[in-house]
Symmetry: C2
Subunit: 392 residues, 2 copies
């Protein structure tokens, strides 16, 4: 299968590209390398310096004798580039990660909110129009986020919900109340993609992904220079990855607020498994399908405790600090999202265990001298002043 | 009250500005005059040439001795301009019409879809950030559209719906399934504004407006050069206005498809009444309030028949043609939207009657020689090819 990976230089995009290549698919990666610039802008860096995309592609070729094609360009700003990629490569599946991926980054201020929605929403509009023009039968596998739903007081279904109201009923898009301009950009994408499927008969799977953790996949382990970007800073790092780095660094694990915030989580390896399952099992033509992509639900507090316990076994005495929450979010809430669809397709979750956390801690310990504490504490606040009005 | 009208050069914005000025409020209009360029781009023109905004402001001053301030600039492309306007004028209410308003325009192709969402979504993001910075206690009165909801098989509530699911319940944003990239831009706006209210405590009223018809208001009638832009072309004209022009021109009224498409409609004068009621009755601080703003529901077929009958009384023998529907939309469907909130605030609907249509026809007849038939038939199709896949 010809698989186009948009955002193939990223934390998830790069391992996905290698995974599909290893499975024997014909893979092309597209990236504008913007993530490296955004990371530099917030004075952050991955734990280990990231080799250039072209270097990693060369190493991949040397290690596996497989080739991954590459095109460097901007899908939001340069639609001619997007059209040319689709016309020439003729993808059968398009895995779309090419978005600004950080909630805090989108909340820095006006320019970052606007840039995030411009980049993500208009980039996806270009992809939809390129598909319509050049590959109307291709399958779009789009990375969304569980954060699109927010934390409603009812079970979270997968994209759609059967609503009964005044004696009538309809299957409607699940209502969305996301928590940042980044999460909002994914909500906008979902609405735009749904429309393109309804109107033009495109096929898409919207993968509403939970918080990803992990540092290694089967393919990154083939060679040190095939590693993926492991971020642990407050802007681009995800919760578990950050906690592990803090444990190794000997600084307290910083839980935002009460820590009762529940989220869906999954291992980086399961991201690859989910994307592969979605791609290998495309929807019917014209279908807009939504999968909730996570394997377990934890509160942030539970997550910190899991890291603390695993760290203790390795001799790290990790403390847990509840710091003022820089975000506006419910810190105690009902949370029961469904994830049946991917399980039904055969997803075998690699659940979080102390053993797995230990593996991460050991890996991070190899780079302990490179940890930059200054980038871990949150500096971006959802509201500058003390809260004077309740979030409702 | 200091009332800022964004999009004050438009079909609705201009009459709104005069109305608030007439009521004694301190009014400033902002516009980038883009609508005139978009109209030129599709080779259209209002029925009567539109005097410049500055000319109309001068006439308004001469006729009423009242002054309306003006700032020409682009709210999407120039955030410094937006910030300056908010800082200097310090509005207490912000009526926001400053968006690309046409569904067909947004469906011309990729560039128009992208431009529509860029202009509308990023412009509104700039407005929200300017409010946060300079006037956090102001009330945003944002023009949305009933088209955000699409045509669900359940009653359409006003912005939110109480969902019961698996024994639990929550009041959630009403699910959205709109029918064009333009309508989608309004859905994106609604999500962004809702978030800004939740996070920053801004106050907003989202007016999900139906299809507006009409040519005159109390203020436009004070002087011929105070008229508003009356569009009847296939891109910027609305259904009833277009039918009336076709009746006067002696060409068939062109109903798209079966004509069973039901929509909410309201008189231009009632738009002013609704916007005034929303503005004079602001929500609580931090509230995001949604009103459905229409007075009656008709099918497009019924609308054509109403025009046909009124036209007959004036001696016009109007035929009704069912032409191929350029849009993808349900042509027979359930439709029962609520509009209680504005009625509860005191809205007194000016319902559509044959008499009112006759008044419009007579007014249009004065300009009969200026009607350009070539711009009335739709040329923008939602899908170029014959439909091969059902819209679902």
């Amino acid at each position: 299968m010809r698989v186009l990976i948009l955002g193939g230089d990223g934390y998830l995009g790069w391992p996905t590209a290698m995974h599909f290549s290893q499975l024997g698919h014909d893979v092309m990666v597209v990236d504008n390398l913007a993530k490296r610039q955004w990371e530099a802008e917030v004075d952050g860096a991955p734990l280990e310096p990231l080799p250039t995309l072209r270097h990693r592609l060369r190493v991949w070729n040397e290690v596996t004798s497989k080739e991954i094609a590459v095109a460097i360009g901007d899908i939001a700003d340069n639609h001619r580039f997007v059209y040319r990629v689709f016309e020439e490569f003729q993808p059968e599946a398009v895995v779309h990660y090419a978005e600004q991926p950080s909630a805090p980054y989108s909340m820095i201020g006006r320019d970052h909110a606007v840039d995030t929605q411009r980049n993500n929403v208009l980039g996806t509009l270009n992809v939809l129009h390129a598909m319509k023009r050049h590959t109307p039968d291709a399958h779009l596998v789009k990375l969304g986020t569980m954060g699109e739903y927010g934390t409603p007081n009812i079970d979270i279904e997968e994209g759609f919900i059967e609503v009964e109201h005044n004696g009538r009923s309809d299957r409607l898009p699940f209502p969305k109340a996301p928590g940042s301009f980044y999460h909002l950009s994914k909500v906008h994408d979902s609405h735009n993609i749904h429309f393109a499927c309804r109107i033009w008969g495109l096929s898409a799977t919207d993968l509403n992904q939970g918080v990803v953790y992990g540092i290694a996949t089967n393919e990154t382990e083939l060679h040190p220079e095939l590693r993926t970007a492991f971020h642990y800073d407050a802007v681009f790092g995800t919760a578990l990855n950050r906690f592990c780095v803090q444990a190794v660094a000997g600084t307290p694990l910083t839980v935002y607020g009460a820590g009762g915030q529940k989220r869906g989580f999954l291992n980086l390896r399961d991201t690859l498994q989910c994307v592969r399952l979605a791609t290998e099992n495309p929807p019917d033509p014209g279908d807009f399908r939504v999968f909730n992509q996570f394997t377990e639900v934890f509160s942030v507090g539970e997550l910190a405790e899991t890291v603390q316990q695993a760290a203790a076994k390795l001799g790290y005495d990790a403390q847990i600090d509840h710091i003022e929450n820089p975000r506006i979010e419910a810190e105690e809430h009902y949370y029961n999202p469904r994830n049946d669809a991917l399980l039904a397709l055969g997803l075998e979750p690699r659940l979080l265990s102390e053993e797995l956390v230990e593996t991460m801690l050991l890996k991070i310990a190899e780079s302990a001298d490179k940890i930059d504490h200054a980038t871990i504490l949150p500096r971006v606040r959802w509201r500058e002043d003390a809260p004077t009005r309740a979030a409702s």
